[in-house]
Subunit: 305 residues, 2 copies
Amino acid sequence: MAVLVVGSIALDTLTTPSGKVEETLGGSATYFSLAARAFDTVRIVGVVGPDFPVTEKRFLEEKGIDLGGLTTGQGPTFRWEGVYGPDLGDARTIRTELGVFAGFAPKLPDHFRTTSCVFLANIDPELQLQVLDQVVEPRWVAVDTMNLWIDRRREKVLEVFSRVDMVFVNASEATQLSGEDNLIRAGAYIQKLGQRYVIIKRGASGVMVLGGQQPFVLPAVPLEEVVDPTGAGDAFAGGMLGYLSSVEDPLDFERVKVGLACGSVTASFAVSGFGVAILRDLSRDSIDKRMRFFLSTNQLGLGQA
Amino acid sequence: MAVLVVGSIALDTLTTPSGKVEETLGGSATYFSLAARAFDTVRIVGVVGPDFPVTEKRFLEEKGIDLGGLTTGQGPTFRWEGVYGPDLGDARTIRTELGVFAGFAPKLPDHFRTTSCVFLANIDPELQLQVLDQVVEPRWVAVDTMNLWIDRRREKVLEVFSRVDMVFVNASEATQLSGEDNLIRAGAYIQKLGQRYVIIKRGASGVMVLGGQQPFVLPAVPLEEVVDPTGAGDAFAGGMLGYLSSVEDPLDFERVKVGLACGSVTASFAVSGFGVAILRDLSRDSIDKRMRFFLSTNQLGLGQA
């Protein structure tokens, strides 16, 4: 099987209490792919400029990521600069230069159109709908969004949500969408739009999934140090969907619960270094080892790692 | 076995988004006792005024709580008034009338001095030390505190912590004490003071215990509605210590982990009604039923409730 991601490939400049890195490989599709590839084949649809480092393109290819949907547009690669405060909460955006991303019109190569699992990262919901029109049934689709689109294109966001199987939102987006502070009620509001599962990301407080007989909640992996939260949500989705696309019956609730754990672990690697530093060489062995540690920190009766 | 609590017995006036109640039974020792009594015998040390309702005193006795350490002082019963905002975070205190609590000098009846498990609720650390001087070894002691005492009596708080087995703090208190935003590092700072376990309460984000081979974290019980967060921490400690005082080898890490789950469940009952309303008639059956639900919301492979 394989998983397809449509999202940004970027060069990020990041400042956190641990330091600063400039023009480092980033973007939602990048974080997602590097997390998912430990579990399954990954296909990227995205756009970069001619200034995108050849070495990074080669690096992604060497990691087995299918760049058949990556086009090179005319203009600079998407750049983002953000600064995190001591609490490592939401970043303050210093600069966003869309570059080639401003004219991004996702086009799926023929052999991508039948991918069984599709992840629409937090791009403009109009583009997400364009992708939905290009994929061939049967397939299942997960989608992410962000406060910007809920603010500016609420109706389109809701339309996308009604056409997919799984929605990723963070807690503040769930509240923004639903008007509900309580996350179960906020999630129930989103679920009524028609998709099967709603995944509510709560940062250091973990993650909740609605869509089973009752809510299911996992804490985050306990970490003594978070270096850089950038891409945590995409690395989470990558680990979760990479796992699910690799198993039989991926939308079974028991599978989804295990997927949450996979996502929590890959996200914990992502935030332990700047940008994608830790994800670059992340092996399935390292994931499995941290998974055993993770489960020993929140599962009763599983004993020591 | 039995568990002894030293803390406040109060009449609370509470306003939350769900409504308002006036002069309702409250106080840390009350919440603790009503949560713990489902698991084990409870002994209270505290003080009320002659205005304390006879019906409430009789109610506590009828619930099997030993009031042998409850004295009636000269003056009004401790009263507190608090208002919660829509996020149900920290209450804004409108009024605190210490009354008889201002002159509280905890004195343990002889048959209380040998209680094997002692909980020092968030009273002045000077009073906590007075209790420690009255209890007879062997016993084990858990302690709670609050921002006020960390602010004003930091050295005394640290002295108490160094003399007990288990410390309960909430996340902001852990940060206030340690200067660390990261909860694992904050907890490690507190652990160095000498006690065996540090329990960090994170409200709707659940609870973490440090002191085992690795941190252990449980989410909160997922609730569609929180009516009144008052007393959640004391109901948590009551459920946890009530369970632990009733088992062999209570300070074994595996026991402590189960204790966290018991505390999470009793706290979830406490916040589902105003004041102690739900705790008044809480049965062990109801706790066991919600425990099965709770574990099905965060334990992998346990199936449906």
